[in-house]
Structures are given as C-alpha cells and as structure tokens.
C-alpha cells in the first residue's frame, strides 16, 4: 500500500499557483482551515488558540519573500508564496510510511493519510522536503492537504463548487485546479504558456503542483548618468540645527 502506484496515474489532479498575482491575503489558508475543520481530516486541532502560545494544524501556509533585482538598477519585489501539499509523483512521505496509512491514489494521484491506520510516528513529515504535513497532537495522527477530496467529487454541490476550498475562495484568481496529467487541460496549457515550474526539482519528488513565476516588469532604470542607483537620503544621517536634532531625539526615544 505505501509503495507508490506502479506507473504515474493518467489523471494527476493538482494546483497551479500564480505568483504574479497572489496578493498574500491568506484567504486560501483561512478557507482551507474552514472546510477541512469539517472534512475528510477533521478536526484541524488548535492548541491554546486564545492563549499566549497558540499553535494548530493548517494545510496551507502563505510565506512572503523579498527577491532582489537580478540586475543593477532594477527594483526588487515582494512575492507572496502560498504553499500546501504538492501531491508529488515520487512522494517520499508515502514510501517511508511503515503502516500503509500514507498513500497515493492511483485514480487521480492525490496523496492522503488513512487516519485509522496512522500510528503517528511522524516519519512522513521528516521525509517531505516541503513541510506539507502537520501532526495533530490531539488526534495523534498526521494530517495533510487532501486537495479537498471530499469537495471536488461531492455530487451534492453544484459543479462549479467542486474545486478545492483554496481555489474557490481566492479573490484574485491566483489559484487554479485541474488535471496536470492531461496536456490539453486548462491548467496544463497555463503551465506551458507561463513557464510553470516545480519547487526544488533537485529533491526528485516530481511534484504535481506547479508555480507560475512573476511576470517581468518593465521597470524604469534607476541608475543616474554616473551609473549609480539613486537612493533616498536617510533623514537621520544629516540633521542640521537644534530643532531637528531635538525632534530626532524625541522620536528616537
């Protein structure tokens, strides 16, 4: 059971995340928590939620990175970076599992945990280079993104709602869901058109989820005639006069 499917499934459901337009609002993480608190892996336990040291299980986390410009004279940028399970083709979290609780589905490639079999040894979370798995200390089992398996196949929902909660809620359309095993699917075409890429290909996990890079911006060259990049003059370094020095002291308190 914890051996991977003998061949890569024809259907590989996954997400395509557009880093160009993600605004870092965390709505995907919040709606993920909301849906999954009542879904397949429910509950997503929080510990000490209103106390001094709250922690809890989340399947989706949004990091924000600062990326310096590749060339002198160009602006750097801030990139909001949502991260959840990538449903890898060569998922190391599956093969290390001693019990068969961690598995990859042959029919659509979704990686899931059978909570009735998991012994809570945590080895799968050690094996995942992306930090996709979080341990629920209350339940004593490992939990992870289910790609909303209980939502995307739910015939009680209208067809347009049968997408993962994070995709449904994204206010800017930065998240796309579909079959990445089908080269003619919308998501596959999007990946091809925008140069979608894998995170950490050197870890050889062959993730299904793809990331679309931020588009190139036509920045004005910030260099002046002498070739140095213009910068704002720090106000605190040349303070003249008694009054400004007094203001500086006041503000520095």
């Amino acid at each position: 059971m914890t051996s991977l499917p003998p061949r890569i499934p024809d259907r590989q459901l996954g997400l395509v995340i557009d880093l160009d337009i993600c605004v870092g609002c965390h709505a995907c993480a919040v709606n993920c928590k909301e849906w999954n608190s009542g879904g397949h892996s429910a509950p997503l336990t929080d510990r000490d939620p209103y106390g001094a040291d709250p922690t809890g299980v989340w399947f989706n986390r949004i990091h924000s990175f600062e990326v310096d410009a590749q060339e002198e004279g160009k602006r750097g940028r801030t990139v909001h970076f949502p991260k959840s399970c990538l449903h890898c083709a060569d998922a190391p979290c599956v093969t290390v599992c001693p019990t068969g609780a961690s598995y990859k589905r042959e029919e659509d490639g979704i990686v899931l945990v059978n909570a009735d079999w998991c012994i809570g040894c945590k080895l799968c979370s050690w094996a995942c280079p992306y930090g996709a798995r979080e341990f629920d200390t209350d339940d004593g089992v490992m939990k992870k993104c289910t790609l909303c398996v209980d939502k995307i196949y739910n015939e009680n929902l209208p067809p347009e709602s049968r997408v993962p909660a994070c995709v449904a809620t994204c206010p800017v359309g930065a998240r796309h869901f579909g079959d990445l095993g089908d080269p003619d699917s919308g998501v596959s075409k999007l990946v091809a058109a925008r140069g979608g890429y894998d995170l950490m290909p050197e870890q050889r996990c062959r993730p299904t989820n793809k990331y679309l890079p931020p588009r190139r911006r036509e920045d004005k060259d910030l260099r002046d005639d002498s070739g140095t990049t213009a910068r704002l003059t720090p106000a605190a370094e040349n303070i003249d006069g008694v009054f400004l020095r007094w203001v500086d002291r006041l503000l520095s308190r």
């Binding site: 709250p54 990091h63 990175f65 290390v96 040894c121 979080e134 341990f135």
Partner: protein
C-alpha cells in the same frame, strides 16, 4: 531536527544491546563463550533488556502506540517497517542461542549456526535503523555516507565495552575481547569525526532560491513568515543548536565516548584481569553511556531540514 529523548534513548540503548548480542553470538560460535552460567544470564539479560527497553521507548513517541503492529506491514518500501520486522525476527535466533548457552551449556554444532544467524540479524536490525535516517533526502546532513557505518560501529563499540566489563566482572576476561573493543572504538571515532567534519562542511543542494524558484541564491529572503507563533514544522524540524554549544558538546562527546573507552581498554589489556580492571571498565561504561547520548543528541540537533528554507534559512 528536534532531539526527542525517546528516539535518542532508543537508538543508543538498542544499538549497544544489539552490539552486545552480536558479540555474545559470535563468542558462542567461536566456542569461547564463558562457561559460568551466571555470565550468560547477566550478559543476555542486559542485552535483551537494552534492546527491549529501546524498542519500548521508541513506541512512546507514537501518537497511537496501540497500532504499532501495523508497522510490520510495509517492508517493501519503508526502512522503519523493515527495522521493526528485523527487531522482532532477531529475538528468535538470539533467544534460542541464549537458552542453549545458559540452560544446556551448549554453543557448538547447530547452536553455533543459530548464533551466526542471530549475529547477522542483529547487524541487519542496526543497519535498518541507520537507513531510516540515511535515506531522508530532505535532511541533507543525514544523507552522508558516514551515517550507516557510524550507527553500526557505535553499536558494536558500546556493546563490546559492555562485554569487556562483564567478562572482567566474571573473571572471564579475554585479551582478544579487550583488543576488539579498542579497535571498535578506534574505528567508530574515525568514522564519527569524519561524519562531523563532512557534515559541518557541506549543506544540501536546495536553497531558499530553489525552494521558491524565485531567483538566484542570495537574492531571495523571507520577508514575512506565514504565522506569528510557532507551529509543528518549526517545533519538529526547525530545531537549531548554537554552533558554539555544539562544538563544546562535540568535544565532551569525543572525550567521554572515545578518549575514555580507548584509554580504559588499552589499560585493561595491559593490566590484565583484576579488581582494578573491573573498576576501570566500569568507569568506562558510565563514561561511554553519557558520551553516546550526547553524540546522538547532536546527531538530531545538528541535522537541518529543507523545510527551514521556507522559514528564513538560506541553506539546509
């Protein structure tokens, strides 16, 4: 990586236990098992006690220990599962040999063959333990080629030291056992220092740049973490020990785990059997026990996980 005491105790205690069991089996197969039945009772008791206490301890950190039997099912892909099976299988030949040596006083013929199978299964079990860690690509420092020999040799050396102590206590000291212990510690010291040197000098292929795909290394920095408080990932995988503290602990581990046992076994080899030798070997066992716990603590505490690349680290 978070250095959990249950796993530190498990790997060190079962390592020493399997090392002792391995040597007791080989001693039997070579026809040099001490004839005093009480030696057999105490030595096998200690070996099985260490192994069993270690295995029990490893189940303490499980979320659902009552389902631990399920861990015997996935031997096709999982080193943890293979280790569990090997650990249980090892009880059979070693148990049969122990019973024969203690109750029947027989270690020859068929029992010698059983002893060799027992010794091999001890080695296989420790090999599986080491492979659990060595096969995790997400923790680059553990993928070092020195990890597996380190586990095998430290198990052998700590087990051999226990055997040296016991043979001196029972007046059954053999110069060859003392020399073997010396050699095992010398080899373990060599392998472990090689691991430390290579581990500190290298970091994994992955960087914050490859983790995000956002640019060349050095250009990508974490600006805002996804959460203000800690989480499971940071508690389990984000453990960091200050280099200064680690270096001090490494020196202490080197003294207690390698220098003291090397000096003591050299001493007992020269001194020959006697009360002084028993005392020296006893001190050495105590020293190596503390030393190996520090060594194993460092093994976990100094290991870095690639997930930390998403939390502000540039290399793992």
């Amino acid at each position: 990586m978070h250095p959990a005491f249950s796993v530190i105790f498990f790997t060190t205690a079962s390592g020493a236990g399997y090392g002792l069991l391995f040597l007791l089996c080989l001693l039997g197969a070579a026809g040099r098992f001490p004839s005093d039945p009480w030696f057999g009772v105490i030595a096998f008791g200690l070996a099985f006690g260490l192994v069993s206490a270690g295995l029990l301890s490893s189940t303490f950190h499980l979320g659902h220990p009552e389902r631990a039997w399920r861990a015997f099912t996935q031997w096709r892909s999982s080193w943890l599962s293979r280790e569990g099976i090997a650990a249980i299988v090892t009880y059979v030949p070693t148990g049969v040999f122990a019973a024969a040596a203690i109750l029947l006083g027989r270690t020859e013929g068929i029992f010698a063959a059983v002893a060799i199978v027992g010794a091999l299964s001890c080695a296989v079990t420790v090999y599986c333990t080491a492979k659990i860690y060595a096969s995790l690509r997400a923790i680059p420092r553990w993928t070092s080629a020195w990890v597996v020999p380190g586990y095998l040799l430290l198990g052998l050396a700590t087990g051999a030291l226990l055997l040296t102590f016991l043979t001196h206590v029972f007046g059954a000291a053999q110069r060859s056992i003392d020399s073997l212990t010396f050699a095992a510690f010398a080899a373990a010291a060599l392998v472990k220092t090689s691991y430390w040197r290579s581990m500190l000098a290298t970091s994994g292929e992955s960087t914050a740049a490859s983790a995000t795909g956002l640019g060349r290394p050095g250009l990508v920095r974490l600006l805002d973490a996804p959460h203000t408080e800690s989480n499971y990932l940071l508690q389990e995988m984000g453990y960091r020990v200050a280099r200064r503290h680690a270096d001090r602990l490494r020196i202490i581990a080197g003294l207690l785990l390698f220098a003291v046992p090397l000096a003591s076994t050299l001493g007992t080899t020269i001194l020959g059997p006697g009360t002084t030798a028993v005392f020296v070997a006893g001190i050495s066992v105590l020293s190596a026990s503390i030393g190996v716990l520090i060594e194993r603590w460092l093994f976990f505490a100094e290991a870095r996980h690639t997930v930390t690349l998403y939390y502000g680290e540039n290399t793992a």
